[in-house]
């Protein structure tokens, strides 16, 4: 056993000053997060136990689980499954598109890499809403896409206001969130590991499967979460490109707050969504983390 010598007076004072300084530096960010994130979340959580008054207000006096009881209703499960399927589709398409691109970028010269990564981020310079409206123009019945398919003899396309349009919009919007973490993890792989595997009789395909793929898993997991989570609760893109025949989770929650004026039900939906996503993320990270 090692003997830990007692700290002297001035060592203690120094450490106290250090931790005080750290706390003070973090304070603005903490305050901001508490006021605009933690407190609103707490309010949502509290409201989910309240009752809708007959006039559409929220009655906080009688706490109950009624809103949670409604989560099993048919309409809710349909909305949840539809949203889940759409988010899964979006995530998988993003993964398939982003992986080869990220691999390509990660294996370029550093100067070229920088250029390509800036290219990935250029769309962020334009407002998300504006870009979604741009897709509305592109996909509309007399838009460029439709004109093209007509010109080559495939007939008029009717993509806008379908789930296909929503997936196109979501993939477009969230693809960079998949590319960046994938790139980061691929770029970190020591090229000598690939050489070592080739030296140990792996074909280039086997080398990819046994070395590159497992080592890029953290990036694929992080990217999938970054795409899946916002896709699952997406509101803007489905609202603009999807029409309102088949509501998704995001718009369904919004309609509870704004149209149906049932805040407790909207709040309970939101709470469950948050808790499910949070636990799924944790489980996913744990599962991935074990093999890192």
């Amino acid at each position: 056993m090692t003997v830990v010598p007692e700290l002297t007076e001035h060592e203690r004072a120094h450490e106290a000053a250090e931790s005080r300084r750290g706390f003070l530096m973090a304070l603005p960010a903490y305050l901001y997060l508490i006021v605009f994130f933690a407190i609103p979340l707490a309010i949502v959580f509290v409201y989910s136990f309240a009752t809708r008054s007959r006039t559409g207000g929220t009655d906080l006096s009688g706490w109950n689980l009624d809103s949670y009881g409604r989560l099993g209703e048919d309409i809710v499960t349909r909305v949840v499954f539809r949203s889940f399927g759409l988010a899964m589709t979006t995530t998988i398409i993003c993964l398939l598109l982003a992986y080869p691109f990220a691999y390509f970028v990660a294996t370029r010269r550093p100067a070229v890499r920088g250029l390509l990564l800036v290219g990935v981020m250029i769309p962020f310079w334009t407002n998300f809403l504006v870009r979604n409206y741009a897709w509305r123009v592109l996909l509309s019945n007399d838009g460029p896409v439709s004109q093209f398919t007509e010109a080559v003899g495939l007939g008029e396309t009717q993509i806008l206001f379908t789930q296909v349009a929503v997936v196109i919009g979501l993939v477009y919007g969230f693809l960079p969130f998949m590319i960046l973490p994938l790139y980061a993890s691929l770029e970190r792989i020591d090229p000598r590991l690939i050489e070592a595997s080739r030296d140990l009789y792996a074909s280039s395909w086997a080398s990819f499967r046994k070395v590159v793929l497992p080592l890029s898993r953290p990036g694929a997991i992080a990217g999938s979460i970054l795409v899946f989570v916002p896709s699952f609760g997406a509101y803007v893109t489905p609202a603009i490109l999807g029409g309102d025949k088949k509501p998704l989770l995001g718009s369904y929650i919004v309609s509870q707050f704004l149209t149906a004026r049932n805040w407790p039900f909207g709040a309970s939906l939101s709470s469950v969504l948050i808790i499910v996503m949070l636990s799924a993320t944790l489980v996913y990270f744990r599962a991935g983390g074990r093999n890192l």
């Binding site: 020591d190 595997s197 030296d199 140990l200 009789y201 792996a202 086997a206 046994k210």
Partner: protein
């Protein structure tokens, strides 16, 4: 003896840069061969070409008589121990070692048996389930060795295998590597910039400089009879006494003195350097040197105590010499300012091509 590895006119160009220039080399089966040279001399590129990680731009490369020049690494009967080991961080020690066998689709039972054997060979029993990051540098080195040797390659390539280890461990591993090579009987080709490592481990050494293979020979040959000033200077330290060949076996030094020297077949008038190792320089008090040998009169400029030896810088009116005298009780010590005479045995010197460099 059959050649394990044979290079004929092997050249590697990267764009305009010639990394390896027309190298001819034959490495015998079962040999422990060192490629030695300063960084950027082309030794690693040569090793990578044998491994198949770089392909030669010209020339022929055979392994046990089979041309392998254009073959990818996975089609060659060689394995590499990489610098910094390149162990797969996501795999356990066991799976790292098994990697090559699994890729070759060796039957499961045999994989298990051979992996266990290899891990035993490098004395890492009990570590099978650990990840590489949980091991020390020396242990990682052993895993890298086991991972390569388990495949029973015809040739094992080692790229600066000891460079990442600290001094003590490095010396221990030198002996272990040598013993291991004798035990498995596989041809080892290793690359190093550390001349001591090469001298102490290798059966033969190939010295490279500036993309060319300059000299190949046993450690003693390279040390005693370097073919060029570069080789003499790179392997150990040496003094160079400028001169010209006067006649066969005689060199006239720049101060006018004629000395007997092994001039080989150099013509009279050739500018040469006489290479004289510091530990071969004999230092005596002025006029105490024997009469029948080459000798020079000079002054002690400085004396440095190294524990096991004294190193003197000796001044002459036309050059300076370094002399290293072992620290023995019987050995006379000198102080700066002492007037001395140096001499050397005729077989203590080598003649190398002179001029710059």
């Amino acid at each position: 003896m059959a050649s394990a590895v044979e290079l004929k006119g092997v050249t590697k160009r990267f764009g305009d840069v010639v990394a390896v220039d027309d190298v001819d080399l034959s490495i015998a089966d079962g040999e422990f061969f060192a490629l030695l040279g300063p960084s950027g001399c082309g030794k690693t590129t040569t090793l990578r070409m044998i491994a198949g990680l770089d392909l030669p731009s010209a020339g022929s490369l055979t392994i046990h008589g089979e041309e392998v020049g254009p073959l990818p690494p996975n089609k060659r009967p060689v394995n590499t121990v990489f610098q910094n080991y390149a162990l797969f961080p996501h795999l356990s020690i066991e799976d790292n070692v098994a990697f090559g066998l699994k890729m070759q689709k060796v039957a499961k039972g045999e994989v298990g048996r051979r992996v266990a054997e290899a891990i035993e060979l490098v004395q890492l029993g009990g570590m099978e389930r650990r990840k590489p990051t949980q091991l020390s540098g020396g242990q990682q080195q052993r895993v890298a060795l086991a991972r390569a040797l388990v495949n029973r390659p015809k040739v094992l390539l080692l790229d600066e295998p000891l460079a990442a280890l600290d001094l003590k461990l490095r010396q221990g591993m030198q002996n272990e590597l040598k013993a291991l090579q004798r035990e498995v009987g596989i041809t080892f080709v290793f690359v190093t910039h550390d001349q001591e490592e090469a001298l102490s481990m290798a059966d033969r050494i190939g010295v490279m400089g500036d993309a060319k293979l300059l000299q190949v020979g046993r450690p003693e040959e390279i040390y005693e009879q370097p073919v060029s000033r570069f080789v003499a200077d790179f392997i150990g330290r040496s003094n160079f006494l400028p001169g010209t060949v006067a006649a066969a076996s005689t060199v006239t030094l720049a101060n006018g003195a004629s000395i007997p020297a092994p001039t080989a077949d150099r013509a009279a008038g050739t500018v040469v350097d006489v290479s004289l190792r510091p530990e071969r320089v004999r230092v005596e008090q002025r006029d105490a040197a024997p009469d029948d040998v080459a000798r020079l009169d000079g002054v002690v400029r400085s004396a440095t105590f190294l524990g096991n030896a004294m190193v003197y810088s000796l001044g002459f009116d036309w050059l300076e010499l370094e002399a290293r005298l072992e620290n023995r009780p019987s050995q006379q010590r000198f102080s700066p300012g002492d007037e001395i005479t140096v001499w050397w045995r005729e077989d203590a010197i080598a003649v190398v091509d002179g001029g710059s460099g």
